[in-house]
Subunit: 374 residues, 2 copies
């Protein structure tokens, strides 16, 4: 393993679901865990204290975005992202691979790395696996992700194989320079929904000293059931003694299904992005706060939720805020959605500890499908 401060302990299982504990140089967290996304060194609209209040124990930053802004000069000056944004807990940084997928017209891959143009000003840059480790070292990342290549689905077998080959090569190149950075290093398995390709990739990566194994290239266009089937077939081949991170996933039902198939860590912009549009998650389904039906609704967003928005405000007030584009609306909805996601993984952990994960999984679905969908 690359980071002596990093450790994973598997504590219990319930079916394929796993309860575990990750220790890092910045403190530990229990798994399954959801990581709020703070692309640019801020989980949008929230303070670090808010993040603690909603139960966040590890957050995400983004190498590509932080490299462009505030830039490496500021990161060096502040000794990394932790002091810059005043967050003392673990930070996992995505490598930029996914940004070159989502901003694909600005990026050109070759075997050695990626040439890309900034989405902000068009300036030219180059990332290599080694450079991405260096950047993450400057950011002070607690858990680094290797630079990978993430193809959109559906993809041809040749495209998938090339992405796998390149990602393996880049994983090993990242590992070779990992001692330049203090953080742990996770490898990223690709292979789309091609189970045998994915298993081969994972087994190849698992033979090396990565601190965790991530699954990339899922939730990129395929049907949710195809993703679930892929996970179910693939996770048994992942090393049991290392954390398994499903990147960029997903909806609450995706988390519940993926945990039931052995995934430990998640990140997704959905709770934060949806919140800014007035879309909130509840135990009885999603609500769109902009709908006029909430105008006179004195109920909280979710009566079972203990977040600030649910303790102190009505749906009618939240509707009023969104209707008038008031900044407090996105803030309260973000607090709520993150609380919802972090409560969900907390409850999943409790269910695994009791050995009743499948009961929990079914009760989640029963709540969502039985509830209102405003």
């Amino acid at each position: 393993m690359t980071d002596p401060n990093f450790a994973f302990t598997l504590e219990a299982t319930s079916g394929m679901a796993r309860l575990g504990r990750v220790e890092t140089s910045r403190g530990g967290f229990d798994t399954p865990m959801f990581m709020p996304v703070g692309t640019l060194g801020t989980v949008k609209s929230l303070t670090p204290q808010d993040l603690e209040d909603v139960g966040a124990e590890i957050i995400l930053g983004n190498t590509y975005h932080l490299y462009l802004r505030p830039g490496m000069g500021v990161m060096e000056q502040f000794g990394g992202l932790h002091r810059f944004m005043d967050w003392s807990g673990p930070i996992l940084t995505d490598s930029g691979g996914f940004q070159f997928y989502s901003l694909s017209d600005l990026a050109k891959f070759d075997d050695d790395g990626v040439d890309f143009r900034s989405h902000i000003d068009g300036s030219k840059h180059r990332f290599t696996p080694e450079r991405v480790v260096e950047i993450q070292a400057t950011i002070g990342s607690t858990i680094m992700m290797q630079l990978d290549q993430c193809p959109a689905l559906p993809a041809t077998p040749k495209t998938l194989e090339q992405a796998v080959k390149r990602s393996t090569d880049w994983a090993l190149r990242s590992l070779a320079v990992a001692d330049r950075a203090p953080g742990a290093l996770f490898a990223i398995g690709q292979g789309g929904t091609d189970v045998s390709l994915r298993i081969a990739h994972i087994e190849e990566l698992s033979a090396h000293a990565f601190d965790g194994i991530a699954l990339g290239g899922l939730a990129v266009g395929e049907a949710p059931e195809d993703m679930y089937d892929t996970l179910e077939a693939v996770t048994p081949s992942m090393p049991a003694d290392r954390p398994r991170y499903l990147m960029g996933v997903g909806r609450p039902e995706d988390l519940v299904e993926a945990i039931g198939r052995g995934i430990d860590m998640f990140d997704c912009v959905m709770p934060t992005r949806n919140a800014r549009k007035g879309s909130v998650f509840t135990r009885t389904g999603k609500l769109n706060l902009r709908n006029a039906g909430h105008r006179h609704d004195e109920a909280p967003l979710d009566p079972s939720c203990g977040c600030l928005a649910c303790r102190r405000f009505s749906r009618a007030y939240l509707h009023h805020l969104f209707r008038n584009k008031e900044l407090l609306g996105p803030r309260l909805a973000t607090l709520h959605n993150l609380t919802y996601y972090l409560d969900l993984v907390r409850d999943a952990r409790a269910a695994i500890r009791r050995g009743e994960y499948d009961t929990f999984r079914r009760s989640c679905h029963a709540g969502w499908t039985g509830g209102s969908h405003g």
Copy 2:
């Protein structure tokens, strides 16, 4: 006086500056006091807890805006604005008179009231002095403002006289129905910078049982010095035993000068609106956080400030947030600017208590003009 729960006690003076205490049905506050503006039932980006944290003890709502959204149906259902927005302290509601000035092409005045169109959907409405008291009763306003007519400056003597005559008439009509509402009622004196007209208006209003006297129609285009001169000539004619409220004012220097001329209460969108644009107030002058000069600045906004933004973040981080249009930027800047304003009136009160207001006033100016103006 119209509200038996409302009281004003003059506690000390220093020159023309006054230290006082206002008691209301929702709790008291010391004067001079600044009231953060929460036009639509939210001080933009902040929670009620944040408002308490920055030292706010009374906030503003706006009759015109709340009448349109969320509307009287929602206000009736919730029993008023306090429960709707979860703020338990005093709320002063502006009457809408100023909105008909700032949205003048949508409003048509006659002797009985104002016909206007909604700035949102063009729908037609009518406000009369009596209707505005009723609306403020529904809102549950702690301190109501009479409907008035506020002319832009410069204005012809005839326009000013007509505004004064109409505002007096409307003040008395408001007073005649004030027992329909639980809140206190303030009258609004007009007269532009015509001192004799202003004094005559104030003396006329003061002969009646208004709980406080406001000065409207200032800071609407005239030079600051003209406003200061008007205040200095006019406040000695205002009743000493009632609070004096200078509406819609202003910059920190305006507060300091107006307090020195006997004003007790202020409101202004400046600290909140400027904050959203990245403009912050400090003891050494204003800073524009979008300026590239702050990119590497590890200093807090104001080393003498104890707000969350100053305790935990650098100017460089705030610059980064504003540069990237991150929602946390306006929130932190709003917290800071309101803390700055509320610290300013707190320090003014302490100086009046010590009998050293003019020393305080001069030290404020020395700080602002001696400091950086980023």
